[in-house]
């Protein structure tokens, strides 16, 4: 159970990091389109 929880948390961290990166890129692209 602890191992699964640890792997789940690692996956969540990876997902949050990926999401943050793409979200920031999305916003930057939006600013480039507006300029």
């Amino acid at each position: 159970m602890n191992d699964l929880l640890a792997i789940m948390l690692v996956n969540l961290i990876i997902w949050v990091g990926l999401f943050a990166y793409v979200y920031r890129l999305d916003r930057r692209v939006g600013r480039m389109e507006d300029s």
């Binding site: 789940m8 890129l25 480039m32």
Partner: protein, 221 residues
């Protein structure tokens, strides 16, 4: 506003999928330890790769018909995401193989066919890199992308089912039976939806970025 809602729904949905993959779905029988849980990431990445290659093929057909450079951009972005999906599917499959059979690579029919797929689409980018003239590059890449996609159903769906394989029995199988726990199936479907949504988002952002770059290059010329 709708777009923001969709993006944050994707975030929440994928968090739920990750929770479901490890804490909601039960352990699968006949697999070493909890290795079967990799299916919630392995299958969707393979699905995204197939979807992305199809999108690339369609964009390539549109390019050959209308010669709109934007379709070439779309084809390239989709092919890149497809290649990424195929690499992730290969990596997750190798991890599973290591746990189940003690070896990362066995030259199993499915492993062999995904290798061919990776080489075929890596060659797409090699082709693009080798041609300097933009129009000729786009035309050759479009033709290649269409021909490359002809191999995808064969390599992804047919070959692995023709030969005996170490690969676990698939959801789409010859018996027409669902050999998966209902909770596992729910999480798998949610994961497929989540990864598909992620692909759409990455594809749209990638296309927008590349189109801006393309437009700026045209303005400089």
């Amino acid at each position: 506003m709708t777009r923001k809602i969709l993006i944050w729904s994707l975030f929440a949905g994928m968090c739920l999928v990750i929770w479901g993959a490890f804490l909601y779905a039960p352990s699968a029988q006949g697999f070493a330890g909890e290795s079967a849980r990799i299916v919630f990431f392995h299958v969707p990445t393979a699905w995204v790769a197939t979807l992305a290659f199809l999108v690339s093929c369609v964009a390539s057909i549109r390019y050959l018909r209308g010669r709109d450079p934007r379709d070439d951009v779309r084809a390239r972005v989709a092919a890149g995401l497809g290649l990424l999906g195929a690499i992730l599917a290969t990596v997750t499959g190798s991890i599973f193989a290591r746990i189940m059979w003690g070896s990362y690579w066995n030259w199993d029919p499915r492993e062999t066919s995904i290798t061919f797929l990776l080489l075929i689409y890596a060659a797409y980018f090699a082709l693009r890199g080798a041609v300097a003239d933009p129009e000729r590059r786009a035309t050759l890449a479009a033709v290649y992308s269409i021909l490359a996609f002809v191999t995808v159903p064969f390599l992804v769906f047919v070959v692995p089912r023709v030969y005996w394989s170490l690969h676990p029995d698939t959801v789409i199988n010859t018996q027409g039976e669902l050999k998966m726990d209902s909770r596992m199936f729910q999480v798998l479907m949610a994961s497929l939806a989540g990864f598909s949504g992620l692909f759409v988002w990455l594809y749209t952002v990638g296309c927008r970025l590349e189109l801006i770059r393309h437009r700026r290059e045209q303005e400089e010329l």
